[in-house]
């Protein structure tokens, strides 16, 4: 059975990518299961979807713990443990990362020996800015790496799953998918089928049975205030706003009023500062600052600089 997990961010089309891949495998006469897992269920937040495909009825359920192929649509997720990109990977797990960096770069960075495939050979993708199409790149790439999906099935699956969109959108997605499919021809069929897991090997989970308590303890009441700050939504960001204090007119809190996430605070000079732990990267501040004192930087460049890569 093929077990594929696709990782991305809300809004990047990861759920749809899973469906397209599932549909394409179905057209190739596989039994298929595909489903998304949402997490925060919000644009920008990490999500994944998974696809199982086999020639026999699939009895396995739930999320994929031992993937044969892991597809990463957004390389910034690799930094984020909560995204679970590495969950359950084994030696023979193949990675496809939608990134212009080389396989070697990622192998060194991650310290793993797995087969990692990227788009380093191709010139045209700007994976940070053109991320709307990352999921289509992933679909094409995954199709080729599995080696059991024909171009025709891939095309038909995209047409079916995107049928609510306009023709131009569908065509653009097909074009991008097939381009990735073509470029990875030398890796055709590199993903191996995983063995079926028999029910006998199932180990009961170690559930903890909590004691029965009164409502004052067992009801989900929160007695502290502002605890949401423990959730680091800064991890949703792919682009970051940067304040240039020199240009800032200290108009006080226009950017801070507009920031939906209370992620702009004032320093001792009364100048705005961005709380990068929580800024989700909506970039309203960049658009609204009358002095254009806030600019944009790509997040993945930033993290690479920090790591000296």
């Amino acid at each position: 059975m093929y077990r594929i997990r696709l990782h991305g961010r809300g809004g990047q089309g990861i759920k749809t990518a899973g469906r397209i891949l599932g549909e394409a495998l179905f057209l190739e006469k596989y039994e298929v299961q595909d489903a998304p897992r949402y997490g925060a269920e919000r644009r920008g937040a990490p999500i994944f979807s998974y696809v199982r495909a086999g020639k026999k009825p699939i009895n396995e359920r739930g999320i994929i713990l031992h993937p044969g192929l892991v597809v990463v649509a957004d390389e910034t997720l690799i930094e984020i443990p909560a995204a679970g990109v590495f969950q359950g990977i084994a030696e023979n797990t193949v990675f496809f990362i939608c990134s212009n960096e080389s396989s070697d770069f990622w192998r060194k960075r991650l310290g793993i020996d797995s087969q990692i495939i990227t788009l380093s050979q191709s010139e045209e993708y700007d994976t940070a800015l053109d991320f709307h199409y990352n999921s289509s790149v992933c679909v094409g790439a995954a199709g080729r790496l599995l080696g059991v999906i024909s171009k025709e099935s891939l095309k038909q699956a995209i047409e079916e799953e995107l049928s609510v969109f306009e023709k131009t959108v569908i065509e653009k997605n097909i074009e991008i998918s097939l381009k990735a499919y073509d470029e990875l021809s030398s890796y055709e069929g590199i993903v191996k089928r995983g063995v079926g897991i028999s029910a006998d090997s199932y180990r009961r989970l170690n559930w903890v049975e909590p004691p029965f308590e009164g409502a004052d303890i067992s009801a989900p009441a929160i007695y502290d205030s502002g605890t949401s700050e423990l959730a680091l939504t800064g991890l949703w960001r792919t682009l970051r706003p940067v304040v240039n204090k020199e240009l800032c007119a200290l108009c006080w809190h226009l950017c801070g009023s507009f920031c939906p996430d209370s992620a702009i605070y004032l320093d001792e000079d009364g100048a705005p500062q961005i709380d990068y732990e929580h800024c989700k990267g909506c970039l309203i501040c960049v658009m609204q600052c009358p002095r254009r004192a806030i600019s944009v930087e790509a997040e993945h460049k930033k993290t690479k600089e920090a790591k000296g890569a």
Partner: protein, 305 residues
């Protein structure tokens, strides 16, 4: 003598009371308005939140609030607000809490709830002159479940349940007029892209007794399909085109707090949102665009300022 202190931007408190780290989408217009509102209402606020996107603000063990918050079903937030108000009044009367620890009871509900399922409970609460503030964040659809149409969806908008080439076939319900017809203490429309107008109105509502509506148009990047950095731009255009009139009701009178001097064509608001894209591509639908413009012109012609 007026109790209102906010006259200009610099008078607005900047407390960032609503903590960061919530699960709302990047660029959420509802959250933008809510954090501005909360800074003015202050800590002594108890939120009664009808099911919708905003109920994901507080997911155990996380909360962005500094005080109490209660989750209710979509239709019953005003009824729950009544219960809390009564409980607080009784506790104060029995001297179990001090009057200075009294709290403002605030309903927080989406349009699906406010214009539809919860309208009857709201109507009854206004009728009983319940002392509360009702915040409706209006993202013109059932945002949390994938933007199905609601009674607040504007004519011709595409939603996940109105996908034809002409979009939503009915018209946005005038909830402000429905509230005003109840003769509440106060009702106002606001928008997060105009923090000063918002602050003045919320401050007014805070200082009044009785039922008060704060109705916030809430540009929603996810449901309306636009880039998260355009939330404020779209909010401003909603006001400048006259689509979202900023107004208030008090003492039986409706007053517009901001009258766009030269209204921009509605097209400027429509064409930058994916939910209206079918009005422009692949073919321009002049008839529908004119119809939307006409509705807006009719509204303002009626007030004829």
């Amino acid at each position: 003598m007026s109790k209102e202190k906010i006259k200009k931007m610099r008078d607005i408190p900047f407390e960032r009371l609503l903590a960061s780290g919530t699960a709302m989408c990047a660029g959420c217009g509802a959250l933008e308005a809510l954090h501005q509102i909360y800074d003015i209402l202050g800590k002594n606020t108890v939120f009664v939140n009808a099911a919708g996107c905003m109920t994901l603000l507080s997911v155990y063990p996380f909360t962005p609030f500094r005080g109490s918050w209660l989750y209710t079903s979509m239709a019953s937030a005003p009824a729950a607000a009544q219960g809390i108000r009564d409980a607080l009044d009784i506790l104060i009367e029995k001297k179990r809490i001090k009057p200075k620890d009294n709290m403002q009871v605030v309903v927080l509900a989406g349009d699906g709830s406010s214009y539809g399922m919860g309208l009857s409970a709201a109507s009854a609460a206004i009728e009983r002159n319940l002392d509360f503030i009702y915040i409706c964040y209006d993202n013109e659809g059932y945002g949390n479940t994938g933007q199905q149409y609601s009674d607040a969806t504007p004519h011709a908008a595409r939603t996940s349940t109105s996908k034809s080439l002409t979009g939503f076939q009915y018209y946005k319900k005038d909830i402000f007029a429905i509230w005003a017809a109840h003769k509440p203490a106060y009702a106002a429309t606001i928008i997060g892209s105009d923090p000063l107008d918002l602050a003045k109105k919320v401050e007014k509502a805070k200082n009044m007794k009785g039922a008060k509506l704060i109705l916030a148009l809430s540009p929603c990047p996810t449901g309306w399909t636009f880039h998260s950095n355009e939330t404020v731009k779209i909010g401003k255009l909603a006001v400048e085109t006259g689509i979202w009139p900023l107004k208030e009701y008090a003492d039986g009178k409706i007053v517009h707090t901001k009258i766009p001097r030269e209204r921009k064509p509605v097209e400027e608001y429509l064409k930058i949102q994916g939910r209206f894209k079918h009005l422009f591509e692949p073919q321009r639908n002049d008839k529908l665009i004119a119809e939307i413009q006409n509705e807006v012109d009719k509204y303002w012609g009626h007030y004829n300022h």
